[in-house]
């Protein structure tokens, strides 16, 4: 007998990362088919209803209540729910430092605090951020689902007080050599960077490090900062700070296309900057680049890295990493084993910016792409779970991460999707990204290696050759080790590139070559 039951713990809060681990462990118990452990927000309850759990029972749970929901054999479900408390005990904290019960309490313990890192549920995040600003502290706001009105009011308040709000939905920053959130370990140096895209900032800082230069500070601003509704408040604050910072010689700005008015404001500000500037507005076609700009604009993250290195007088080290290499031989080797039906690319990305940049590179090469996060001119997928012809998927998008960890932490979804893609005989190339650094998976390549080997095996059995092309965003100093991760990919038969732009170009070249052959 199979059943679905829920247990509600009144006024009990546990963070989402811990709850996902609880659900994972519960789902592995004998007789259990599906398990969820979530806070009782309306969105979470809706998901549980869609999973088939009883709506009336779930209605009993309020926002501050914890819900454990199990589906499986009646005996197994009831057994676990009768003693659910034992699954909710947190392991002993790994922190050596002091703990506090509230922001106020923490402030009293450490009045020199200059930064508050906030990753609480979105509905509470603005309130905590406001309190942090009132105490004169800067804010790194990882939480998402913060309203645009709150974002504007927080950023204005910060700006008036000489502070910054990085976020909401800010994944990465590097301040004076310390990485915050999902950051790579990079050497300190003289290039300052402001980015409204988290993985864009990670790719930029990693490539600068790998080119032999370093980062003074890297500010994330949150994806909405350069929209006209926010007007680039945090970007402008960060530019001001980097201009004043004695350790910064040159400034790079990276974003997806800004709002038109905001783009003009940023360009005017950068034109007045007393330090040299390089910029990359990903996705903005070169015909639309602001003509008034008196600084170098680049199409890709690789190019803005190269330009930034030139601005600080660093050349040489970058040459092998960033300049287009002769790939003809590698290309030939990949294409010659393909079957005549193989003509499409499938990209499965952990980094949203990588999905975006790959689309831009495909667009520039005339390759039509479907995506769940389409660049202007590309086609929205009807069903994010079903690829069509050439498809590039942002696996970190909201629709894939409700109640489950981001693909930078947990590869379950990507692993399954790789094996789905290979069932389609028209697929020629699988394009992947791997992201190292603080707080990411401890072994991103290892998480997917078996699935890649299996995909190649299945493809070969069906009489095809599946080319797998990947880039690894990270450095030799990251806890996962860049060299080790890249080597594991090569051992798995993957063609590895130092950047997403180069991997995407190679994947595009494979498609072009396939078209030539079929003509």
């Amino acid at each position: 007998m199979s059943t679905r039951e829920v247990s509600i713990k009144k006024n009990r809060y546990l963070d989402s990362v811990f709850l996902m681990a609880v659900a994972q462990r519960l789902s592995e118990q004998p007789g259990i088919e599906d398990a969820a452990a979530v806070m009782g927000s309306a969105a979470n309850k809706l998901i549980l209803v869609k999973m088939g759990f009883n709506e009336a029972e779930l209605a009993e749970a309020a926002q501050n209540d914890l819900i454990v929901a199990l589906e499986g054999e009646t005996e197994a479900v009831n057994g676990l729910l009768s003693d659910v408390e034992q699954w909710l005990v947190r392991p002993k904290s790994a922190l050596d430092g002091a703990m506090a019960l509230s922001l106020e309490d923490a402030w009293e313990q450490q009045e020199t605090s200059n930064l508050v890192v906030i990753s609480v549920p979105g509905e509470y995040a603005a309130r905590e951020a406001r309190a942090a600003l009132e105490h004169g502290m800067n804010v790194f706001l990882f939480s998402d689902h913060v309203s645009v009105e709150d974002e504007v009011s927080l950023k204005q308040k910060a700006s008036e007080a000489g502070l910054i709000v990085m976020g909401p939905d800010c994944g990465t920053a590097i301040i004076a050599g310390t990485g915050i959130g999902f950051a790579n370990v990079v050497r300190r140096g003289s290039i300052g960077v402001v980015a409204s895209s988290g993985t864009g900032l990670q790719e930029f800082t990693s490539l600068v490090h790998r080119s032999g230069a370093g980062i003074s500070h890297g500010f994330g601003t949150g994806g909405r900062d350069l929209s006209d509704s926010v007007g680039g408040i945090s970007t402008l604050t960060a530019i001001d700070a980097l201009e004043k910072d004695p350790g910064t010689q040159a400034i790079a700005v990276i974003s997806k296309p800004p709002g038109q008015d905001t783009l003009e404001r940023i360009v005017q500000r950068l034109n007045r900057c007393s330090k040299p500037v390089a910029a990359c507005f990903l996705g903005l076609e070169s015909a639309n680049w602001p003509s008034a700009a008196r600084f170098e604009i680049s199409a890709t993250i690789d190019d803005v890295v190269a330009n930034s290195l030139l601005l600080v007088g660093k050349t040489g080290g970058s040459a092998t990493l960033l300049l287009p290499v002769k790939n003809a031989e590698r290309l030939e080797k990949e294409v010659e084993r393909m079957n005549s039906n193989q003509k499409y690319v499938r990209g499965l990305f952990a980094g949203g910016t990588f999905c975006y940049q790959a689309q831009q590179i495909m667009r520039d090469g005339g390759v039509a792409v479907h995506s769940n996060a389409p660049l202007e001119g590309m086609t929205m997928l009807d069903d994010e779970n079903a690829s069509v012809k050439s498809t590039l998927v942002d696996m970190g998008a909201d629709e894939f991460t409700v109640g489950v960890p981001h693909p930078m932490i947990d590869a379950t979804h990507r692993r399954k999707r790789i094996l789905d893609e290979v069932q389609d005989p028209t697929v020629a190339v699988l394009l992947l990204d791997f992201i190292l650094g603080h707080n990411a998976s401890t072994d991103p390549v290892g998480d997917l290696a078996e699935a890649i080997v299996e995909a190649k095996r299945q493809s070969s059995e069906a009489g095809h050759y599946l080319s797998v092309v990947a880039s690894v965003c990270g450095t030799d100093e990251d806890p996962q080790g860049l060299e080790k991760q890249e080597q594991l990919l090569r051992d798995t038969g993957v063609v590895v590139f130092p950047s997403n732009a180069q991997a995407s170009q190679f994947a595009r070249d494979i498609l072009s070559k396939r078209m030539e052959v079929s003509k």
Binding site: N11, Y13, D15, V17, A62, Q63, N64, S93, A94, L95, D96, G97, A98, M99, A100, L101, S102, L103, D105, A106, W107, Q109, Q110, T112, S113, N114, L115, V116, V117, I118, S119, V120, P121, Y124, E128, A132, G136, M137, N138, F142, S143, A161, G162, L163, I164, I175, A176, G177, T178, G179, I180, G181, H217, T237, A241, K244, D245, H438, N439
Partner: protein, 58 residues
């Protein structure tokens, strides 16, 4: 030039308070930054009846 609070962050590096995911505090600690982790919980739900009563009294 007046030193703003943002400039002092850039000069001193993060002296942090962490609200939410403990992993973020751990990675700051591992890098040698000072960090206090808040064992955060949502504020208790507002008792609407009590709030109405207070509104009337005030």
């Amino acid at each position: 030039m007046k030193m703003t609070d943002l400039q002092s962050l850039l000069k001193a590096g993060p002296i942090a308070i962490n609200l939410g995911l403990e992993e973020f505090a751990k990675s700051l600690q591992d890098q040698g930054a000072k960090v206090i982790h808040v064992d955060w919980a949502p504020p208790p739900p507002v008792d609407e009846e009590m709030e109405d009563l207070l509104d009337k009294l005030l």
